[in-house]
């Protein structure tokens, strides 16, 4: 695609922009589904990680509860996103309110 650019460099700047836009759109067309799938996989992974960290609070006994404590502050933001995403306006945990 670089030589294409060179070819059409001088005649019309407008045409060059149009080609670029077309390229971006095409790229986007192919990439979007992948990106969606990967984003979803990442989100699931993050949710699972969060579940491990907050397990004890959700009533799931966790032998490592003590060591997850130090991770909790770092996950506040994610926890907030999670309960919003799950359709809960406020934190579902009585003793853990992020908002």
């Amino acid at each position: 695609m670089t030589h294409k650019k060179r070819q059409h460099a001088s005649p019309a700047g407008g045409f060059r922009r149009a080609v670029q836009q077309l390229e971006t759109a095409a790229e986007e067309y192919y990439r979007a589904p992948y990106r969606g799938a990967i984003a979803r996989a990442k989100r699931d992974e993050d949710d699972l990680f969060m579940l491990f960290v907050f397990a004890e609070m959700l009533g799931i006994p966790n032998p490592a509860a003590y060591f997850t404590l130090e991770l909790q502050p770092l996950l506040l933001e994610r926890f907030h996103d999670w309960h919003r995403r799950m359709g809960m306006e406020h934190s579902p945990l009585d003793h853990f309110r992020c908002c």
Binding site: G36, F49, P63, A65, F67, E77, F96
Partner: protein
């Protein structure tokens, strides 16, 4: 004898009341007498180290004699220290309105089951790491068998836990880097908005903090486990008295220790009846003792055994600790065949 004291960490364990603290103190003072700088650490929440040296010791390192420093780990102090650090961390990250919530949450965690145990593990792991640099010999006077076995198995369990957490975290990181390669544009689907929206920048930052914390944890647990399992560095000594229940418990303890690959260097048979006491009562006791001794020789044939006699007085100060220490030194010398 030297091979035992040349180790860097000695764990002294056994059933409650068999004389663990006495033997631990004797080993530490033996090391100190040889000019090694020694630390003796009590991990039993019901400490008796201070009682044996007739002085308060507490959770700070306290000089007890030349080359000898004592320390009683207080799980409560350790838990508080840890929780306060987490609290400070949390406060940095959330709005002030939430401070009370955090405090409440942390109070619950402080008393949660397992917290004291985890705090103890944390401190023992730290002491092993530091002890390697700061002392020639660290002797751990442990809590009765059950607790100690659990404590010693924790590094393995917790190392596996931190490995697992890190694996999940790494997977998420991998996805994030793939996403970055595919272009940083926000997806059009609303259902994914939470991933790429504004918090992303901050959570990217917290992701690396999470990673750093997990890596530090993992390093600590793996290190403690590596030190513990290295039989040139660490040894476990089982103390028992020639009676039925301690023998049974020692047998169980040995099985558990083997399961976790923790090397057992020797057994100390404590409080043997002296030969020169006469009388019907003592003769009967000695007969029973002989039976149990035979059982011990038979059951624990593969392990080196040292014998310490019953003394006429309790161990209550440094001088009496030294007396046991000399008796133990004789035993060590005798069994290693040195003059």
């Amino acid at each position: 004898m030297l091979d035992l004291l040349n180790r860097r960490f000695l764990f002294v364990g056994g059933k409650g009341g068999v004389g663990k603290t006495t033997i631990a103190a004797a080993l530490a003072s033996m090391g100190a007498e040889q000019g090694k700088s020694c630390l003796i650490v009590s991990t039993d929440p019901a400490h008796s180290l201070g009682d044996i040296f007739s002085r308060p010791i507490g959770s700070r390192e306290m000089p007890l004699a030349a080359n000898l420093v004592g320390l009683e780990i207080d799980p409560e102090t350790e838990t508080n220290r840890f929780i306060d650090a987490v609290k400070r961390n949390m406060r940095r990250l959330v709005r002030p309105e939430l401070y009370r919530e955090i405090d409440r949450q942390m109070e619950l965690a402080r008393d949660a089951p397992g917290a004291a145990e985890a705090a103890l593990l944390e401190r023992v792991a730290e002491l092993m790491a530091e002890g390697l640099d700061r002392y020639d010999l660290v002797v751990f006077d442990t809590a009765p068998t059950g607790h100690t076995l659990r404590l010693l198995s924790l590094p393995e369990v917790m190392a596996a836990w931190s490995d697992g957490m890190l694996a999940h975290h790494e997977r998420s990181r991998h996805f994030a880097s793939l996403l970055a390669k595919l272009g940083a544009r926000k997806p059009n689907g609303d259902e994914l908005a939470s991933i790429d929206h504004e918090p992303e920048r901050r959570s990217g930052d917290s992701a690396s903090q999470i990673r750093a914390l997990l890596l530090a944890r993992r390093r600590k647990f793996h290190r403690a486990r590596r030190l513990l399992l290295d039989d040139t560095l660490s040894a476990f000594l089982l103390v028992l008295i020639p009676e039925r229940l301690p023998i049974l418990e020692s047998r169980k303890a040995l099985r558990m220790l083997r399961r976790f690959d923790i090397p057992v260097a020797a057994m100390v048979i404590n409080r043997l009846l002296p030969r020169d006491v006469e009388g019907e009562f003592f003769n009967r006791r000695r007969e029973q003792e002989a039976e149990y001794l035979r059982e011990i020789e038979h059951t624990f044939a593969a392990i080196r055994r040292y014998r310490i006699p019953l003394l006429e007085r309790d161990i209550h100060d440094f001088a009496s600790v030294c007396r046991i220490s000399r008796l133990l030194a004789d035993e060590l010398r005798r069994s290693s065949g040195l003059p």
